[in-house]
């Protein structure tokens, strides 16, 4: 005769990470290798960029419990910088992507310093508002070309050898970036650093009293998350040859949140699943005449009401019960 639901599933929580599942990783790599023979490589490459973005976003939320609603700022600013470096400076993709990533990381440092002391909802609001500032800047800066964006960005060659305009070269480059990014995220999550972050999320006062500089830990993971989001954004610019205000708009922050939520916040693989679903939906709905935004919104609502742990999260919970 209880009057409430169980209070145990009220926290966004990460199930224990199973870092040793090498069989799964091998299978995943295999899938990555054969995908372009079944799916249009350009689309697959784009999806991988968003998957990496979702994983980077989830690195912050899953380990520290901090929901940033302004991650588009990092994704988008790196997209612009990378696009500018490719188009105006003629830099190769490797360098342009590094430049973009560094831009996102420095922006992460600035945003992180002001927002990290705020908790929970305040943090979400502050990151969103700061990201909106970046959005307006994207309209003002001369090199972003306001509404038009950076169009027809040349892809160039990877390692100075392979032409990225070849769709298979393009795909495997994006896949390589994704694998590097994903491996980093797995490494960070399972490191002592990642464990300290989880302990902070579980019981911040205790970690403070144990002498951990809690805010520094959060700041570092925030910057890492921003940098990896930047890497995703930079790669996306190269893939689709476009950087525009959409990349820095808050709807992009919302999309990436949905990807993580749908797949399973705090799971390593969940955001990948979420990314694939959301991007595919947007792709297939684009021609259907259905209102994409409304459908995405409805999925958001249903997901929060019915399966908050996301697809992978619910799967892990079910498996954990047996």
């Amino acid at each position: 005769m209880t009057t409430s639901t169980s209070t145990t599933d009220t926290k966004i929580s990460a199930p224990p990470v199973r870092g040793t599942d090498y069989a799964w990783y091998a299978a995943g790599l295999l899938v990555l290798l054969i995908v372009p023979f079944f799916i249009y490589p350009l689309f697959a490459a784009k999806v991988l960029c968003y998957c990496l973005f979702a994983c980077a976003f989830n690195l912050l939320l899953g380990t520290s419990g901090l929901l940033s609603f302004g991650h588009a700022a990092f994704f988008g600013s790196a997209a612009y910088i990378c696009g500018h470096a490719l188009k105006e400076w003629g830099l190769p993709f490797e360098l342009a992507a590094i430049l973009g990533t560094l831009t996102a990381a420095s922006l992460g440092l600035v945003v992180g310093v002001v927002s990290i002391r705020r908790q929970g909802l305040y943090f979400a609001m502050v990151t969103l508002a700061l990201a909106q500032m970046i959005y307006f800047m994207a309209f003002q800066m001369p090199f972003t070309h306001a509404e038009d964006g950076l169009t027809a960005v040349p892809r160039g060659k990877i390692l100075g050898l392979f032409d990225l305009n070849n769709l298979y070269v393009l795909y495997y480059t994006a896949a390589a970036v994704f694998v590097i990014g994903y491996a980093l995220i797995v490494r960070i999550t399972n490191s002592t650093f990642g464990q300290v972050l989880k302990a902070i999320r579980e019981n911040q006062p205790r970690m403070i009293s144990l002498g951990y500089s809690v805010n520094n830990y959060k700041l570092v993971v925030f910057i890492l998350s921003a940098a990896l989001s930047g890497l995703a954004g930079a790669t996306k610019t190269m893939v689709v040859q476009l950087a525009s205000t959409v990349d820095v708009h808050w709807a992009t922050s919302g999309d990436v949140t949905l990807m993580a939520l749908l797949g399973g916040v705090g799971t390593l693989f969940g955001p990948v699943v979420g990314g694939v679903i959301v991007e595919s939906l947007q792709f297939y709905l684009a021609d259907s005449g259905l209102p994409i935004q409304a459908v995405i919104g409805a999925i958001f609502v249903v997901c929060i009401l019915l399966f908050r742990h996301g697809i992978i999260g619910e799967y892990q919970r079910l498996r954990g019960k047996h």
Binding site: M1, T2, T3, S4, T7, T8
Partner: protein, 234 residues
Amino acid sequence: MAELSLSISDLHAFYGDSHVLHGVTLDVPAGEVVTIVGRNGAGKTTTLRSIMGMIEKRTGSITISGQNVIASPPEKIARLGVAYVPEERGIYATLDVTENLMLPRKVNDSGMTLEKIYELFPNLHARRNSQGTRLSGGEQQMLAIGRVLRTGASLFLLDEPTEGLAPVIVQQIGKAIELMKAQGHTILLVEQNFRFAAKITDRHYVMERGRVIDMIPRADVEKRAGQIQQYLGI
């Protein structure tokens, strides 16, 4: 309004995953003063909060004058004529003294008027426009008790009303509780100050680790003084 009686049987309560009450059973007949004694953490406050419906996860039965309220929300229970004075006093910082007094919803017209309450606690009248939490500890306790006198409730749940107060103020609080008793109201009191409680109590329940382990009627108090001291760990 008829005085309310309270009967609890096999009450279990939980905070999240931790099981705090393990089958509490006790009776508070109409018009009596019943005191729960026991060490810190025995589950006294949780028992009162469960009666009030403030612990969401609870099982067993709690009947107030025959009506089972185990699944009722706090506002429904309050409207039956149950009034609660929490241990932490629960004075609102965003309400001034008068607003604090006027907040609880009246259940009938048998309660005291605002003027009567100010007569009983002149200190409160002097500070009627102050922010509630600016009051001293003693004044806050007067406010917490004065607040429930206005509603016309007839079952009072008082959680450690004399805790940490100066003797002069304990006397004033005692006067108010005696007044409630004189009016024939039912009172369930949680009190560490055994000497204070013994004067007005009809029966004592002893709690330990979330259970009632003993009941001592008024007549036996002197006879079993040694045992009581042992229970309380004095």
